[in-house]
């Protein structure tokens, strides 16, 4: 359960709307069920009071919306950012993707967001309602009645291995500031690295074969803000609308991951939205782990204007052949 309440956020939004600091609010809107929250723009206090929500299902990262929203909006936009969202926010600023002056950031604490799929798995299909309480979730189901779940067990993957509760950008902070966390997010990557190449190949073949090229991972990704994606551009030589075979599946995901190297903040949105549950974060995290390993720790978005590893170098960088061995966990 989130420590900060919907009412607190509405109160803050009201204040900023009324004193003229902002003219609109980017927030979460309640849906049909307890869990289907949609990002939305609120222009008035009435709209806020009617539909605004903040609960354990507000996973969406608003940073990317700012690219388009700041162009459209006349005045300033109030945006509520969770700690991990602020990294994406900074990264977009580093890449000059929107005007900082048009945004008012309120940093809000996050206790981790919940994965509906995980609830379905744990409590059974047919969720009538989900109630978030201090000691876990109470899920009312059609077939299993009320089921109590520990929040920790149904968190989104990215929240289970949360890397930071610290906001790296805000104009104002609600609640307490957290810390950067020593996270276990690379464990799964390491497990894969320890497999034999054949096992790894089989793993990725199996995972990527489910891809339906819906582009949700790309379209939600705060690093993928290209005016035109190479995969949509017939002149790029790699354009395609559907993966015709396993090569094209790999091609899309390798190139996409490569294009966000050093720019991916590991916000985990790609894996959250994948309708096929492909663990796409494992590709991005491999790059992040290698970067940390080869060139020293680098967290994209930790500060505005930092130079990403691929647009930087030192004269004594690791050679590619050694990198492959070192990336595999061997001593190079």
């Amino acid at each position: 359960m989130q420590k900060i309440s919907r009412e607190t956020l509405i109160e803050k939004a009201k204040e900023l709307l009324q004193n003229g600091t902002v003219s609109s609010v980017l927030g979460w809107k309640a849906g049909e069920f307890s869990y289907d929250v949609t990002p939305a723009t609120f222009n008035s206090v009435e709209e806020l009071e009617k539909d605004f929500v903040y609960n354990d299902f507000c996973g969406a990262n608003f940073s990317k919306y700012l690219v388009k929203a700041t162009i459209k909006a006349e005045g300033k936009i109030l945006v509520f950012l969770k700690p991990c969202d602020t990294y994406s926010f900074n990264q977009l600023l580093t890449e000059h993707r929107f005007n900082r002056e048009k945004v008012y950031v309120v940093g809000i604490p996050c206790e981790g967001m919940v994965d509906v799929e995980a609830i379905r798995k744990a409590a059974g299909e047919g969720i009538v309602s989900v109630e978030c309480t201090n000691d876990g979730l109470v899920v009312d189901t059609l077939y299993n009645g009320k089921v109590k779940l520990a929040e920790q067990d149904v968190l989104l993957e990215r929240c289970k291995v949360c890397k930071s509760k610290k906001h790296v950008a805000y104009d104002e902070l609600l609640g307490d500031e957290g810390e950067v966390i020593e996270s276990k997010r690379f464990d799964e990557v390491e497990r894969l690295e320890k497999m034999t190449p054949d096992e790894r190949f089989a793993f990725w073949q199996r995972e990527l074969s489910r891809c339906i090229r819906c582009n949700a991972c790309r379209d939600i990704c705060p690093a993928c803000t290209c005016e035109q994606c190479v995969f949509n551009n017939p002149k790029s030589g790699v354009e395609n609308k559907a993966a015709a075979n396993s090569f094209e599946e790999k091609m899309f995901h390798i190139i996409r991951a490569f294009h966000v190297v050093g720019r991916c903040t590991d916000c985990g949105e790609c894996s959250r939205v994948c309708p096929q549950n492909i663990p796409l974060h494992l590709l991005n995290r491999k790059f992040i782990k290698d970067i940390d390993n080869f060139y020293g720790e680098y967290q994209a978005g930790a500060e505005v204007g930092s130079r990403a590893p691929l647009v930087n170098y030192t004269t004594d960088d690791i050679e590619a052949s050694d990198a492959v061995r070192k990336g595999d966990g061997e001593n190079a």
Binding site: E95, H96, E227, K235, L310
Partner: protein
């Protein structure tokens, strides 16, 4: 669709010996776009070139593929031939079937098969070639030299000698730089002023040279041949064209307690001053930080005594904008601060000094009028310890020293030691060193003379600690050859401080988009082959701004930089390489990745208006490549995630079509 002609060369038996040229020409005939295919003994001969010219005209060819030797050999030849026949020279591609085929493969079938594939790849590329025209840009025939030390002076004189205008911008009130502060020069021991000041006078009298002293470059725009620089002339409160340099004001000024920076603070000057007797321009300058008139409005002595009426308390900083074709950076060096070297007690004892301070102590125009006297009590020192490599070759803690060798210290320390023993044979002189490095003409002989003829004690090992005790300095050091620790009671300790680039270099590099290394020395375009050019076209490097160097090297480099500038300014127009990057503005995100990796600073960002689907206008930040500056490496094309950046002549689709042709 192109109309391509294929010309397969035999190169006598060089190619035809291992490649069935007939079969290659035949096989390539059916490739898409090919309308003509032939083979000939020597394509590069006049007769061969005539065949090509005739075919271009007869078959209305729009593209040419020559299967021959390496493009590094005859690409230019065949491009000229094509141009002579009216075809754009960049519509010619070479398939290298000699060096990379016939010469490395032994049997005919293998060679022939590979030659056909290489030919297909070249054809695939030509199919996507577009005619390229090299751009031209005019050249402003004036050079800017930033820094008025010996490097800047020499460069300016050499450029002016060739008949081009030069402006020198010097931030101090006079040109001359560090060399003006030096007493004698190694290895000949002639007096620095005697060889420098005539050059300074030459500069002042040269009609082609303008000196902006007490001035700084605040902004540089443009590119090779077309720079615009903004120069800030700081207010000196003295009318430069009126002041006669008589010096009366500098004697009458009541503010006497201003540390004299020319003598490194070892004596005082007045608030109005001329740095030294031979200053150029010989004009007084009022130091606004110390002038009572400027601070409180009460004084005006200098104005009263100035017979020329040159004093003007109302002067303001003046900004001048000027166009240049080339820029030479000659910002020089400074000794590093000794503040972090507590072990040498620099801040505790006045008798621990740096080598540059020692220069001033030895100099006849210095604070002691050339007599070697201790700064603390004015007594003659009898035991002097020189410590080399203070802060040089120090990689332990980058805050403290510099990782590199400062290069000049070994020689000037030998010079100091020798001069001291020469003038004052009653002194004991010890030099503590890690290595003695004297790779220069007559340098090692010079150092050996200090040891053998002047009896300077060179001890291998470093001084560990200097402890002021009474009026003496207890020096504890190691003697590595004797394998023991030694203690010396010294009267004076001289530290050979490492040198670092002037602090103004970093912001200047940003302005010029010239690259720097981690030590803030300017990077050269190529360490061996283009040592005086910066990777940024039109920006040249002179002197210690590029790395530690002594006077002879600096002068040599200054001349080299000048000759490069002259070579540039002698052209009326610059022809640009047409194979440059270009950005598709509609696809550009404005993320700066390309600008970050560009080694030449060829990419800038501009705000462009775009029409939106809803018919509104949107202003977006997009990359723009300066074709005059881009060298065509293509690094930017790969970091561009949207693929907005592409390289003409080596475009993404061209290279991919080559890949396709090779792999099919």
């Amino acid at each position: 669709m192109q109309r391509i002609g294929v010309f397969v060369c035999w190169c006598g038996s060089n190619i035809a010996g291992t490649v069935d040229v007939q079969a290659v020409a035949e096989a390539l005939k059916t490739e898409p776009g090919v309308v003509f295919s032939t083979n000939y003994q020597y394509m590069c001969s006049q007769a061969g070139q005539d065949i090509m010219k005739q075919a271009i005209k007869e078959h209305n060819l729009t593209g040419v593929v020559v299967c021959s030797c390496s493009p590094r050999m005859h690409e230019t030849t065949f491009r000229k031939t094509a141009a002579a026949a009216g075809l754009n020279p960049y519509m010619v591609e070479i398939a290298n079937i000699r060096e990379q085929c016939s010469w490395v493969h032994k049997d005919m079938p293998t060679g022939t098969e590979k030659a056909i594939i290489l030919g297909k790849a070249a054809i695939a590329k030509v199919n996507l070639n577009t005619p390229l025209t090299p751009g031209e840009s005019p050249v402003t025939k004036r050079a800017l030299v930033i820094g008025g030390g010996i490097a800047g002076i020499q460069t300016a004189l050499d450029i002016a000698d060739a008949g081009f205008e030069v402006d020198i911008v010097e931030k101090k009130p006079t040109i001359g730089g560090k060399m003006a502060q030096i007493d004698k020069t190694f290895p000949t021991l002639d007096c620095a002023a005697c060889i420098l000041t005539p050059k300074m006078v030459d500069v002042a009298q040269n009609e082609k040279i303008r000196i902006f002293s007490y001035a700084e470059v605040t902004d540089v725009k443009g590119f090779v041949g077309n720079f615009t620089a903004t120069i800030k002339k700081k207010a000196r409160y003295v009318k430069e064209d009126v002041c006669t340099g008589c010096g009366i004001c500098t004697e009458k000024c009541p503010q006497k307690k201003v540390p004299n920076e020319f003598n490194l603070g070892m004596d005082n000057r007045r608030a109005v001053y001329i740095p030294f007797a031979q200053a150029v321009p010989k004009v007084a300058t009022i130091d606004p930080d110390h002038c009572t008139m400027l601070k409180t409005g009460k004084c005006g002595v200098c104005a009263k005594v100035c017979t020329a009426g040159a004093i003007d308390y109302t002067q303001k900083d003046e900004f001048i904008e000027e166009n240049y074709g080339a820029i030479v950076v000659a910002t020089g060096y400074n000794p590093i601060s000794m503040d972090k070297f507590d072990e040498f007690a620099y801040n505790q004892s006045k008798d621990v000094i740096t080598s540059l301070e020692y220069e001033r102590l030895m100099n006849a125009a210095g604070p002691t009028a050339g007599k070697l006297l201790r700064p603390s009590d004015g007594k003659h020192p009898h035991t002097i310890v020189f410590v080399q490599c203070v802060g040089s070759r120090c990689s332990a803690c980058d805050e403290k020293g510099k990782e590199y060798c400062s290069k000049i210290c070994c020689m000037y320390t030998a010079k100091h030691a020798m001069l001291t023993r020469d003038k004052y044979p009653d002194t004991d002189v010890y030099v503590f060193y890690i290595d003695v490095r004297t790779p220069g003409k007559s340098f090692d002989e010079f150092y050996r003379r200090a040891v053998e003829d002047y009896g300077v004690h060179y001890i291998k090992g470093m001084v560990g600690k200097v402890m002021p005790e009474g009026d003496q300095l207890k020096v504890r050091a190691s003697d590595l050859l004797a394998n023991k620790q030694i203690n010396i009671d010294a009267d004076l300790v001289v530290l050979a401080a490492a040198i670092e680039p002037d602090k103004s270099a970093r912001p200047l590099a940003t302005m010029l988009t010239a690259s720097m290394d981690t030590n803030d020395f300017f990077t050269e375009a190529h360490p061996k082959l283009r040592p005086v050019e910066s990777p940024t076209a039109g920006v040249f490097l002179s002197g210690a701004c590029q790395g530690p160097r002594d006077i002879p090297e600096t002068v040599a480099q200054a001349g080299a930089a000048a000759s490069k500038v002259i070579g540039l300014l002698a052209k009326d127009k610059l022809t640009c390489n047409p194979c440059v990057a270009s950005s598709n503005e509609i696809m550009c995100n404005g993320c700066s990745s390309c600008a970050n990796v560009c080694p030449y600073g060829a990419i800038t960002y501009v705000e462009k208006e775009f029409r939106q689907p809803d018919r509104t206008t949107l202003v977006r930040r997009v990359a723009s490549v300066n074709e005059a500056v881009c060298q065509g490496c293509g690094c930017c094309t790969v970091v561009c995630p949207s693929g907005a950046m592409d390289l003409k002549g080596f475009a993404n689709n061209q290279i991919m079509s080559e890949v396709d042709a090779i792999c099919k």
